[in-house]
Amino acid sequence: MNIRYIFFAILLLALGAGLFFLPDPKADYETQAENILSELKDQTRFVSTDEVAERIINQDPSLFLIDVRMVDYYEEFSLPGAANIPLEEILNPDWVDYLEQDGVDLVFYSNGDIYAEQAWMLAKRMGYKNLYVMKGGLNHWFETIIQPKRPAATASSTEFDLYEFRKGARQYFSGGSLNIEDVEAESLTFTRKKKETVIEGGC
């Protein structure tokens, strides 16, 4: 046996063992801090409650709401169609399918907007795309959409238009003309998907 073969075998083993010392390959795809900062600079990550309401009402297929509050809160009340990814669990690989959707805008929301933005920051660093935060969160949702304040009589017509829209939206979300429960009934049962079961081109 040639001594060099033994040397090569050891070298190969060393190269293989070296793989263990490489950091997680995902780390390479992390969005770098400079890039996140420049995303912070333009405020495009925020969407207003009105916009979210409008897109829900229009049943916009490119909207995907993610509730980052704890399960208890989510079960108590959540926006129609929202999935629940508690902030604590955002790094769990089970959620990859939710976070990695091409051409779908993922809107994080929480009661306020801090948790939602924290989820946004982490998901951003993980390299996911099309991420948004619902500004003001559910608290603001209730102040604007569910309990809109009548503008002062002197307010501009745009404000009245907005008020009319919000009243309509309130009607929608409280199940007035359209029964939300019926809409929801068609939807899928909530299952955590494992990555292995990805069917290509599903979404």
Binding site: N2, R4, Y5, F8, L11, E30, Q32, A33, E34, I36, L37, L40, K41, F64, D72, E75, E76, F77, G81, A82, A83, N84, L87, E88, L91, D97, Y98, S110, N111, G112, I114, Y115, E117, Q118, M121, L122, R125, G137, L138, N139, F142, E143, I146, Q147, R150, K167, R170, S174, G175, V183, E184, A185, E186, S187, L188, T189, F190, K193, I199, G202
Partner: protein, 214 residues
């Protein structure tokens, strides 16, 4: 060996090429300018611990008692900053957070173990900058809950009856379930001001179905 050349000279050369390729790769590897010191997991743990969030009362005390070892950094734009700011604060608009002199400032603060309190108009405005600095290893950076708005009293609602401090923006201000119930049953007449009752979550059994997914 009759048919196959079992000499290893050439093989050595091939292996050498492979190994030197890898070595060259390692030498020329470009490092990002700002390297994350916290992994995603550590970062998540750090934000969930809430340890690095400073509440405004605490800050007020620190400033009143002129406690050493704290520095307030206001990340709003200079215009807002000039209009009103926390006493003794330094203005670093977050757009310039990574400018060389600012990074040097944060380095210096860390070296001197001075606690930096980031403050925006609200907590949200400073949140991103705070998380970035934390992730880059500036563990001495805290964020001011409620931001300048609450601190200065601008966003303080003195009529609020809630017992939860107003700078806890993540607390539900209203009992969502109750309001929705009332709405659905039609007991809220249009434009009527709703009485917000105290927040005792009443658990409503609701089927957890979601729309979307795949």
């Amino acid at each position: 060996m009759k048919d196959t050349n079992l000499k290893t000279n050439r093989l050595s050369i091939a292996v050498l090429i492979f190994v030197s390729l890898l070595v060259i790769g390692f030498i020329t590897m470009s490092k990002p300018e700002f390297e994350y010191k916290l992994t995603l997991e550590q970062s998540l743990e750090q934000i969930l611990s809430l340890e690095d969030e400073m509440n405004p009362d605490e800050l007020m005390e620190i400033i009143d008692s002129e406690t050493k070892g704290y520095k307030v950094v206001d990340i709003r734009n200079p215009y807002e900053f000039v209009k009103g700011n926390i006493q003794g604060s330094k203005n670093i608009p977050y757009q310039n957070l990574f400018a060389k002199e600012n990074i040097e400032f944060f380095d210096q603060m860390k070296k001197d173990s001075v606690t930096v309190v980031l403050c925006g108009y609200d907590q949200l405005e400073a949140n991103g900058s705070w998380m970035l600095l934390q992730q880059l290893g500036y563990s001495n950076v805290k964020v001011l809950q409620g931001g300048y708005g609450y601190y200065s009293g601008e966003t303080f609602d003195m009529f609020s009856e809630s017992e939860i401090p107003q700078y806890f923006v993540e607390e539900p201000k209203y009992s969502f379930v109750e309001i929705m119930d009332k709405l659905t049953s039609g007991s809220i007449i249009e434009d009527e001001k709703v009485e917000y009752e105290s927040i005792i979550p009443t658990r409503k059994k609701k089927e957890t179905v979601i729309e979307g997914g795949c």
